[in-house]
């Protein structure tokens, strides 16, 4: 084995804000046409290489990374001089970014057939092509910018995302929906919360801070119901971090396992909102401040721990995970729901046809598209049931990266926290940076969540079930153990 050479580190940031507007905004059942751009969407790339191996992280202000986007970027970088398979993409999960899933996107369980009504919006395929080119350019720039440097890591904590699922006294689980009218049947919050903040700082050869990789179990969806383009809290966070540590600081956001988490509480909401009012900040600004405060507590004490020569091992594999086993009962239940939504959809279409002037009202298309896409979401259970006969597995790209005493592991899904904690508990790394949504999603539910059901933990929500979730966790832990046992120096 050879000795690793000093780490080469390169950063770059690109702008993936849609230029053709209005764009379809991704993240809700109902369609949303963008009504403006509040702040820019970014792709941030961090390339690291030590002569033995390489990793390129590429974080995008998008809801997911569909296979079509991943493959297009890799195709554009096929001759770029590095292994494009070593790119670890991830989405921040902003729900105010452009739709990027096209008709072929298997991971989208809700819209294989569009919106159900004609809407004038920018082409999704065109945006995908545009984003792919920009992301590829940004990655190529980061690779080209590689310079000797060092890294330091640390951990802090901040209460950012909260568990959004709760059990009632009848052992039924619900995502959200906890209010005065349902409070009396509340039993408990279903799962756990993870408030760890894993931080990797990079420095140039002179020891100056160049960038931060910030890993938090908090999807970027504070503004998820809005009709504007926005990077959500990561925009505010970038601004605040740069205000404190310099405007040239690169910031790469990663979301750790957080499939059942959201950046808002399901109880004590009124008290939270009151505090935001008293502080004069909104939800995005609050999270930005909390993250910046953690960085401020961690960064000064890890600077003395900089390392420029350290182990780098990066294993990429595609697992064939068992698709969630669907049966005829699942199909029958889903079709019943689909039928209810079909009725609603047809009523909405009829209403619009009978009164065309309704289409002059703002957001007139919301009810009809919601009904249509909900209908498809349920009907898709039947399609997937039939597909499972010939294709019982889901191809799942996983990256496992050892960097010195810490590790990164990516999963393409919205991975429920129980799996994430399982990996962290068993990992041999001092800190384990999990990266969810390195692909197209969607929910991979924990065992206990499936027992309660509800959105996120029923077959209509899940490409794979707890078995597949466990298989991923086992693979990641086993690979990490191999990496930490193996020494290249």
């Amino acid at each position: 084995m050879s000795t690793p050479t000093p780490l080469l580190i390169g950063w770059s940031e690109g702008d993936i804000t849609p230029v053709v507007l209005p764009a379809f905004i991704a993240g809700q059942f109902h369609m949303r046409l963008s009504e403006g751009v509040d702040d820019p969407l970014k792709v941030t790339a961090l390339a690291m290489e030590n002569g033995e191996d390489q990793v390129i992280f590429a974080a995008c202000d998008l809801v997911v990374i569909p296979d079509e986007l991943r493959d297009a970027v890799r195709a554009l970088l096929a001759t770029a001089g590095f292994d494009a398979n070593k790119i670890v993409f991830n989405a921040t999960h902003t729900h105010t970014g452009p739709e990027i899933r096209v008709r072929t996107t298997k991971s989208d369980l809700s819209q294989p057939d569009g919106s159900g009504i004609h809407l004038e919006g920018a082409s999704i395929q065109d945006y995908l092509d545009y984003a792919a080119q920009t992301i590829a350019d940004t990655i190529a720039q980061a690779w080209a910018a590689r310079q000797p440097g060092s890294v330091a890591y640390g951990q802090g904590d901040a209460v950012l995302a909260r568990n959004r699922r709760w059990f009632n006294t009848e052992n039924k689980a619900t995502m959200y929906g906890l209010h005065a009218g349902t409070a009396d049947v509340f039993s408990h919050v279903e799962g756990y919360e993870d408030h760890s903040v894993n931080l990797l700082a990079t420095y140039d050869q002179a020891g100056a801070l160049t960038g931060l990789l910030v890993n938090v179990p908090c999807p970027s969806q504070v503004r998820e119901m809005e009709y504007v383009i926005s990077a959500d809290y990561w925009h505010d966070t970038r601004q605040m971090l740069r205000a404190r540590w310099g405007e040239n600081l690169f910031i790469l956001p990663q979301c750790s396992a957080a499939g059942d988490q959201a950046p808002r509480p399901i109880f004590e909401r009124e008290a939270n909102q009151r505090m935001q009012r008293l502080r004069g900040e909104n939800g995005c600004q609050e999270i930005a401040r909390l993250i910046a405060d953690v960085v401020e507590r961690v960064l000064p004490v890890i600077e003395s721990e900089k390392q420029s020569v350290l182990e780098l091992q990066h294993q990429v594999t595609t697992l064939e995970l068992p698709a969630i086993p669907l049966n005829e009962q699942h199909v029958a239940q889903a079709l019943e729901e689909a039928q209810n939504w079909r009725k609603l959809y047809e009523e909405e279409v009829h209403r619009l046809e009978a009164s065309p002037e309704l289409k002059k009202e703002p957001r007139w298309y919301v009810p009809v598209t919601k009904a249509f896409r909900r209908m498809n979401w349920y009907a898709n259970v039947e399609t997937r049931f039939h597909e499972q006969v010939n294709s019982p597995t889901v191809a799942t790209e996983i990256h496992v990266v050892r960097l010195g005493d810490i590790a990164f592991a990516s999963v393409p899904f919205e991975y429920y926290l129980d799996f994430g904690i399982r990996i962290k508990v068993k990992s041999p790394a001092l800190q384990t940076f999990l990266v969810q949504l390195s692909g197209g999603g969607t929910y991979v539910p924990s065992e206990r969540s499936v027992a309660g059901g509800g959105y996120g933990s029923i077959p209509a929500s899940n490409p794979i079930g707890p078995d597949g979730g466990n298989e991923m966790a086992h693979y990641i832990v086993d690979t990490l153990r191999e990496q930490f046992e193996r020494q290249t120096s």
Binding site: Q155, D157, N163, A183, H188, V189, A271, M275, V425
Partner: protein, 483 residues
């Protein structure tokens, strides 16, 4: 009606060696690391009053509460002693305050099995209750017009210490490299909310705070010295930042299965503490002060001088755990084993008295004896259960404007606490556990996995009683809201 506010603080550090409460082995105090305090806050509005007392002890025995009330009654007839509510920080390095009583059971129910010559529990109770009663009177006499403001923030303090393995079996602690293979998930939830009440004098100067969080004071629970645990450092840090005369009252929200210890990511956490040059206590103190700093500056705009004050007390009968003959047989087996172990330890000491020259010579014998007591308590409780199927619990529910305080005497598992918070109509609900003798009241899901804290031997009250307590607390809270 204007609000009158009074604060006082008493030093309740024992002046002689005492038995330290909180763990199975007896611990004779070998010194005082830092002082223990009782902090008193009096609120009065018209005819309504509340006297809140927080003590750096493991729990509040009925003996301590009754002694304080009796002494206050003698000192000041204006104070309604039934409106005195006393809670513990749950320091595991403070004197034993539970008088040995087989009817109560528990690890101290039949003494310690070894004579150690310590200050007796009765003597310490008399000492502490006198100091506390004087502080109550002092707070009462010092009350003056003032205001209050409240806020909510977050800090990662108490961590869930129970985990479930892949077979559904739960454990408290014990997660390590070896057991990690079987780890499935952390059993329950964590609550990182910090409920803060700040008090101000007539000129809007800050005078004190109530810091309410689901965190017990047991960062250093195994020491053989007297200490307020992390609250020593936390008070210092708060006073450093917000004024040396600041009164700091601590309340532990529902946190039966939480402690300041992590059950995973320990190495990363320890590394960060080392890099920061902090002990665990200092780290907690910093987090506490940071949380206060995130709230306090925004509160002066929301000071209220005349919030509605209402204080109701209630005694609720809770169904006790239905122990089975099987539980008794299992407990009796353990009693016999532990008795044999204790006898063996005592035999060694009798045969070789020189052993008593060794430091902490008494630990093995008392550990066996007090564990025996704990198991014997199951047998006693089974006998009591044949006569009575309920246990009474005292509750205080206090409305202060748009916020509410609700106390219970137990180490109340978090699921129940969240239930009360979810169902409460108040904007902030300050739950106060350990406003009495304890002990664990487990959640329903925790009893499915079992383990220390969630088996009948640990608990006089089970999930059924816990639910009655939650329902009754919510009922009282809603009654006050309707006022």
């Amino acid at each position: 009606m204007s609000l009158q506010i009074g604060w006082a603080q008493a030093d309740i550090t024992p002046e002689k060696p005492v038995l330290i409460a909180g763990n199975f082995p007896a611990r004779l105090s070998e010194g005082v690391r830092d002082p223990l305090y009782a902090v008193v806050l009096v609120l009065q509005s018209g005819d309504e009053q509340v006297v809140m007392v927080c003590c750096d002890v493991v729990s509040i025995s009925d003996d301590l509460r009754d002694a304080v009330r009796s002494k206050v009654r003698n000192l000041n007839a204006e104070i309604q002693v039934e409106k005195i509510v006393i809670n513990a920080t749950h320091s595991h390095t403070a004197p034993e305050i539970r008088v040995s009583n087989p009817q109560v059971g528990g690890m101290a129910g039949w003494g310690n099995g070894v004579e150690l010559g310590e200050m007796s529990v009765e003597e310490y109770l008399d000492f502490a209750s006198t100091r506390i009663a004087e502080a109550v009177n002092q707070a009462w006499e010092s009350r003056a017009n003032g205001g209050v403001a409240y806020g909510l923030g977050y800090a990662v303090l108490g961590r869930n210490r129970r985990w479930v393995d892949q077979d559904g079996v739960a454990r408290m602690y014990g997660l390590n490299a070896e057991t990690a293979e079987r780890f499935a998930h952390v059993e329950g939830f964590e609550d990182h909310s910090v409920n803060l009440l700040a008090t101000y004098d007539a000129e809007d100067n800050l005078t004190g705070i109530i810091f309410n969080a689901p965190m017990t004071a047991q960062e250093d629970g195994g020491l053989f010295v007297i200490s307020a645990d992390l609250w020593c450092e936390a008070r210092q840090e708060l006073r450093r930042r917000f004024g040396e005369n600041l009164f700091v009252m601590t309340q532990v929200s529902a946190a039966g299965e939480l402690t300041p210890k992590l059950i995973y990511e320990g190495p990363a956490n320890n590394r960060m503490q080392e890099l920061k040059g902090r002990t665990g206590r200092q780290e907690m103190a910093t987090r506490i002060a940071n949380a206060v700093e995130d709230i306090l500056p925004y509160l002066p705009q929301a000071i209220e001088k005349d919030p509605l004050l209402k204080h109701v007390t209630a005694t609720v009968e809770l169904p006790v755990n239905a122990l089975t003959q099987q539980d008794v047989e299992a407990a009796q087996l353990e009693v016999d084993k532990l008795q044999a172990l204790y006898d063996e330890e005592m035999r060694k000491l009798e045969e070789d008295p020189a052993l008593k020259e060794n430091p902490r010579w008494y630990v093995p014998a008392t550990a066996a004896f007090r564990r025996r007591n704990w198991q014997l308590g199951v047998v006693t409780r089974y006998e009591q259960y044949q006569q009575t199927k309920t246990q009474s619990a005292d509750l205080h529910v206090i409305r202060l404007g748009d916020i509410v305080f609700a106390t219970n005497p137990f180490e109340y598992y978090l699921d129940f606490g969240i239930q009360v918070k979810v169902r409460s109509p108040f904007i902030q609900t300050f739950l106060v556990e350990l406003a009495g003798p304890g002990t664990y009241v487990p959640s329903l899901r925790s009893t499915q996995g079992g383990g220390y804290g969630s088996v009948p031997a640990s608990n006089r009250i089970g999930p059924e009683g816990g639910q009655v307590l939650a329902d009754e607390t919510v009922r009282l809270i809603r009654t006050l809201w309707a006022d």
